[in-house]
């Protein structure tokens, strides 16, 4: 029996990135909403609702980087130079936001204000930078001989800006959904208003990004049956379950928000994200550096993929197990005195 290791690894990386987007998505989202919080007590509570998780969530981003290096060095060595500036923008923003979890608590008056600012600004900029990378990724990377040969600003298009805006609103929606689960009282009411606003913006931007993606790159349009003037319905039909899933997610979201459900808005937001993610994946697969390197061309040597796979089948279930356990330990509403300080 032989395993198609590159394909398995493409799936693993895709899974890690999806988990990253969903998990760090909600804690970045809480950071984005931080800017709109009304009272210091609300801000403390918002931060406490994500403090035990954010570090574990961000580790999926590290796995995305290290996993890409390990499984698809060809992609790692082309994507990262191609998106050099937005990646550093993201890293710097994540640094300032990450240390704010500790520093904001230790800061006195001015220090606290500074780290409050860095926490929300860092969250917004990190989300925007990820959107710019994603936009540039969908647009494609200029390659020659498997090397990046484009310019430093190839990612800077209006399409990327639209994706960035969409991602900020999407994360905010996840963040608001998280706060609905974790908070009570005034902040809960606030989170409902945020969730409603974010849901409308996400519906709008999701539609806009979807349409823009069809025209931004001929490969993608062709795959979805877009001919430039209309749709080839036979092609579209094969992929139709993906946008349908998005519609289901939006429906869950809207109904749950109407009924005042605590958990279902988050579920709806997750379904919307999964649909968007699958939609993008279906658009560029089998490329890992669009539209020049496929997952087979970018894959690492078989001995490396084999060792990695051997380790992964043992370790990944354990990681998922204790991650679920940690979420279970901190289940329920966040207590006002949740800190250890």
């Amino acid at each position: 029996m032989s395993l198609d290791l590159p394909l398995i690894w493409a799936g693993v990386i895709a899974f890690a990135v999806l988990l990253y987007v969903l998990l760090d998505g909600f804690d970045l989202g809480v950071g984005i909403l931080f800017a709109f919080a009304k009272t210091p007590a609300d801000r403390d509570m918002m931060m406490a609702s994500i403090a035990p998780y954010w570090d574990g969530n961000e580790t999926w981003l590290v796995l995305g980087g290290a996993g890409l290096f390990a499984a698809f060095p060809g992609a790692y060595a082309t994507l990262l130079p191609a998106f050099y500036l937005p990646i550093f923008l993201m890293l710097l923003a994540l640094i300032l936001r990450g240390v704010a979890f500790e520093f904001r608590h230790h800061g006195r008056r001015r220090g606290k204000a500074l780290w409050t600012f860095f926490f929300s600004a860092g969250s917004i900029v990190a989300a925007a930078a990820q959107g710019l990378v994603l936009g540039g990724f969908m647009h494609g990377v200029k390659l020659a001989d498997g090397q990046f040969v484009g310019g430093p600003f190839d990612w800077a298009t209006s399409y990327s800006a639209l994706v960035a805006l969409g991602l900020i609103c999407g994360y905010a929606l996840l963040g608001a959904g998280w706060l609905l689960i974790k908070t009570d009282g005034e902040l809960y009411g606030q989170a409902r208003r945020w969730a409603r606003a974010a849901a409308s913006l996400v519906a709008l931007l999701l539609a806009a990004v979807s349409l823009a993606t069809l025209v931004v790159e001929p490969h993608v349009g062709a795959r979805w049956g877009w001919t430039g003037a209309g749709f080839d319905l036979a092609r579209l039909a094969r992929l139709a379950p993906i946008p349908l899933l998005g519609a289901v997610g939006l429906a869950i979201l809207i109904i749950a928000l109407r009924r005042g459900s605590r958990r279902w808005p988050f579920v709806g937001a997750v379904v919307v994200f999964i649909s968007g993610y699958l939609g993008l994946a279906a658009s560029f697969f089998p490329y890992v550096t669009p539209y020049g390197l496929t997952y087979l061309q970018a894959a690492n040597a078989p001995s490396a993929l084999g060792l990695l796979f051997g380790g992964l089948v043992f370790i990944l279930p354990v990681i998922l197990g204790y991650t679920v356990w940690v979420y279970w330990v901190f289940r329920g509403r966040t207590a006002a005195d949740a800190g250890y300080h």
Partner: protein
């Protein structure tokens, strides 16, 4: 000298790594220290251990956070700035770095949440387990990253594909490359020693003001025990590592010792000014034959000098010569501090000897300085190679512009300056405050080890 993408990328990598390495070192040491403290507390139920635990936990949280955010940069920087290196070495190094994330980072970051915020949520046994898992995770992380580094220093178990890419042919030999055992031992001991020096300094600071503060008295004695045992042990591990250099990395050894000519009975230069342009040292202060004896145990042994390597293959001797002497000098000072402290301890004069307390405070950051100096010795001494003898650093750089690298370097300098200020300020503030009872989260009511700890705070939804 032109500031091209290569030079800027090297500067950036050196800066971000020198900055980063301090925090994992502190976290490795504090992780184990906290596990010991919590274990002692559960065992003896002495409140002093609990207070020390809670006190150092808060400093650990800052240090760990700094390590995480600066570590994320490292995992992306290899691709942004060293894309060709990444492509060439991924066949060997890729799995090692991925295993670091899978076996260590997830463990640390997940159980850190329980360690910091789980006081009221899990019982004392589980909380202790979380502390131990975090401590274990820091060591596992050190293992993988040093495994990758050791392979770059002493490559083994690999083959080279026609396009120049490295592939592993024997994973056991690639992971456990020849320099890994001593490198891992040296790094872990360095982390423990650096942490002990910080713990000792913070305790000495408290004892200068309040000589009877019980927590600081305990912590100072624990720190002195570490200097007394670990500092000499570290000396021997370092000496062992040095003795492997003549066979493994002769150019690095020649640069460390300032040997230019290949000859028998090399002198040991206590002080010198290695001059690469003229291929000689100025202002040597030397001990005859000792250079050969230190490295091989034989005073008449023949050792290669830098001149026996083409100039393009010589590491920059000046930096390596002095970084090595900085590290060893500080190491000797640590051994001295341990002997002095041990002697005072026996004579029951620790708290009374203010000069010793002041010296202990002064030595607080010495471990971190030695870690950075040692890292410079190992990495600059490997130059001009990124994979020793096989791939040059200059061949590994990304196809990016100098403007991009300048932008990222400036951004990193500014942001790191901001977070460094914050971390140092808040850590020193905590250390100045000391392990005072008031800062503990109502220990009498809800500490692990008490019956109440297992009771949930609020009804579950």
């Amino acid at each position: 000298m032109t500031f091209d993408a290569l030079l800027l990328s090297r500067l950036q990598f050196a800066f971000t790594l020198a900055f980063h390495i301090v925090y994992p070192s502190f976290s490795i040491g504090l992780g184990s220290f906290l596990a010991v403290l919590e274990g002692l507390w559960l065992l003896t139920r002495r409140e002093a251990f609990q207070r020390l635990y809670l006190f150092w936990l808060r400093i650990f949280a800052i240090s760990f956070g700094m390590g995480v955010v600066t570590g994320v940069v490292m995992s992306y920087q290899i691709g942004t700035n060293w894309a060709v290196y990444a492509r060439m070495t991924a066949g060997v190094l890729g799995p090692l770095l991925a295993f670091e994330v899978l076996t260590a980072f997830f463990l640390e970051s997940s159980f850190l949440g329980v360690m910091l915020f789980g006081w009221k949520r899990v019982g004392p046994g589980l909380h202790f387990a979380a502390t131990c898992l975090v401590a274990f995770g820091t060591l596992v992380s050190a293992f993988w990253i040093l495994s990758a580094n050791s392979w770059m220093q002493t490559p083994a178990g690999y083959g080279v594909l026609p396009d120049g890419r490295f592939v592993a042919t024997d994973w056991w030999r690639a992971i456990f490359s020849p320099s890994l055992p001593q490198r891992f031992a040296h790094m872990v001991l360095a982390a423990y020693l650096s942490t002990a020096l910080m713990v000792g300094a913070a305790s000495a600071f408290q004892l200068l003001r309040a000589p009877n503060q019980p927590e600081s008295k305990i912590a100072l004695r624990m720190a002195i025990g570490m200097y007394f045992v670990v500092a000499p042990l570290q000396f021997f591990v370092g000496d062992y590592a040095g003795k492997q250099l003549p066979a493994g990395q002769p150019a690095k050894l020649a640069a460390i010792e300032g040997f230019w000519d290949t000859k028998a009975a090399q002198d040991f230069h206590i002080v010198a000014w290695p001059d690469r342009a003229r291929q000689r040292n100025d202002w040597e202060v030397s001990l005859p034959k000792l250079g050969s004896w230190i490295t091989t145990g034989d005073a008449n042994a023949t050792l290669r000098g830098l001149k026996s390597f083409p100039r393009a293959d010589q590491p920059p001797s000046f930096l390596v010569f002095w970084s090595f002497r900085t590290m060893v000098g500080l190491g000797l000072a640590m051994i001295g501090l341990g002997l002095w402290g041990g002697w005072l301890w026996r004579r029951r004069a620790l708290e009374r000897t203010r000069l010793f307390l002041r010296a202990t405070i002064l030595m607080g950051p010495a471990g971190f300085v030695a870690v950075i100096a040692g890292w410079i010795t190992a990495e600059v001494g490997r130059q001009p190679w990124v994979v020793y003898g096989l791939m040059r650093t200059s061949a590994g750089v990304s196809p990016v512009t100098a403007h991009e690298v300048s932008a990222s370097l400036i951004g990193l300098l500014v942001v790191y300056a901001v977070i460094f200020t914050g971390a140092v300020l808040y850590m020193l503030r905590l250390m100045a405050q000391g392990p005072v009872p008031a800062t503990a989260p109502s220990p009498e009511a809800r500490a692990p080890g008490t019956a109440l700890a297992a009771v949930p705070e609020e009804p579950e939804p």
